[in-house]
């Protein structure tokens, strides 16, 4: 679910949605979600002053709170 959430948000923001890849590394309590996008789209998922990335992380943590987990969003260059 968390993986799909990140995928959906990222795809809606970039120019090349087909190049959006999210991999989930599940831990006992914490999941790490690694987001990869096309080089040109990196700025779009990060946003001005990291605002977009921040918004995605906030929504992600709300979604993970609901399932009693923690999630970390990493944007991989």
């Amino acid at each position: 679910m968390l993986k799909e959430l990140v995928e959906f948000m990222a795809r809606a923001l970039v120019d090349s949605p087909e190049l959006v890849k999210v991999s989930e590394i599940e831990g006992e309590q914490t999941s790490v979600l690694e987001l990869r996008v096309a080089k040109e789209d990196l700025g779009k998922v990060i946003g001005k002053q990291g605002r977009t990335a921040h918004a995605m992380r906030t929504i992600l943590s709300a979604a993970s709170t609901k399932i009693r987990k923690r999630a970390v969003l990493e944007i991989i260059e």
């Binding site: 809606a12 977009t52 995605m56 906030t58 929504i59 709300a62 979604a63 609901k66």
Partner: protein, 226 residues
């Protein structure tokens, strides 16, 4: 939204492309046929592409409201919470209301989650529709409650400023919250307000007005903090 000229292999093809482009069904588009196109002889010689000129029929705001609702609904399906989104186009913005179980999960600390949702939906909407449409996302009447409590805070602070004759500063606030403070004290002749600081740390300073004159700055500040 802008008028577009779209080409396709056939008329049907061009119209489908147009629908995709605007994220609207065919009935919602104003379509003018520029060239019908022909497949030529055996589809090789003299093939011409069909060309149409398209503009959306309905008010952009109504379209934006529908699209915004769809985007927000989709994001919320990934949060395991039963939610329904209502959309409404108001004078100058799109209003999206989330109906949920009232746990406050979607609001977050000081509206953090709600603001993140609002920011993301409007960002996606700008991209798709190529028009700056402002979006307000609300749930459980949070925005109204916030406005009431901020207005109250503004009045309390202004009373203190008037009594002590010294400026006071609010905590860090986002632009919407600052705007509420500016507007709450706009009519007050004895104080003036100004935003100070950078980025996330921007706050509102409330100054005692100099005797005999009221600067018009506050009104301008409210406009810039919209």
């Amino acid at each position: 939204m802008p008028t577009l000229e779209i080409e396709g292999k056939s008329l049907e093809d061009a119209i489908n492309l147009a629908c995709e482009e605007y994220h609207l069904p065919r009935e919602m588009l104003e379509i003018e046929i520029l060239s019908k196109g022909s497949s030529g002889i055996f589809g090789i010689v003299g093939a011409r592409k069909a060309k149409i000129r398209v503009a959306p029929k309905q008010l952009p705001l109504t379209a934006a409201a529908d699209r915004g609702k769809a985007i927000l609904t989709e994001i919320l399906t990934f949060v395991e919470l039963p939610t329904v989104v209502e959309a409404e186009s108001r004078d100058d913005h799109v209003f999206l209301n989330i109906i949920s179980n009232g746990s406050g999960l979607l609001i977050g600390k000081r509206g953090k989650t709600l603001n993140a949702l609002q920011y993301l939906v409007s960002k996606i909407l700008h991209r798709e529709l190529d028009a700056p449409i402002s979006v307000v996302v609300d749930t459980e009447d949070y925005r109204t409650k916030r406005e009431t409590s901020l207005t109250e805070l503004a009045h309390q602070l202004s009373t203190k400023v008037k009594r002590s004759n010294r400026p006071l500063t609010t905590g860090p606030m986002n632009s919407q919250d600052r705007r509420i403070i500016h507007l709450a004290l706009k009519e007050d002749q004895e104080v003036r307000t100004k935003s100070k600081g950078e980025g996330n740390l921007r706050r509102v300073v409330i100054y005692p007005a100099k005797r005999g004159k009221k600067s018009p700055e506050s009104a301008a500040e409210a406009a810039s903090d919209s």
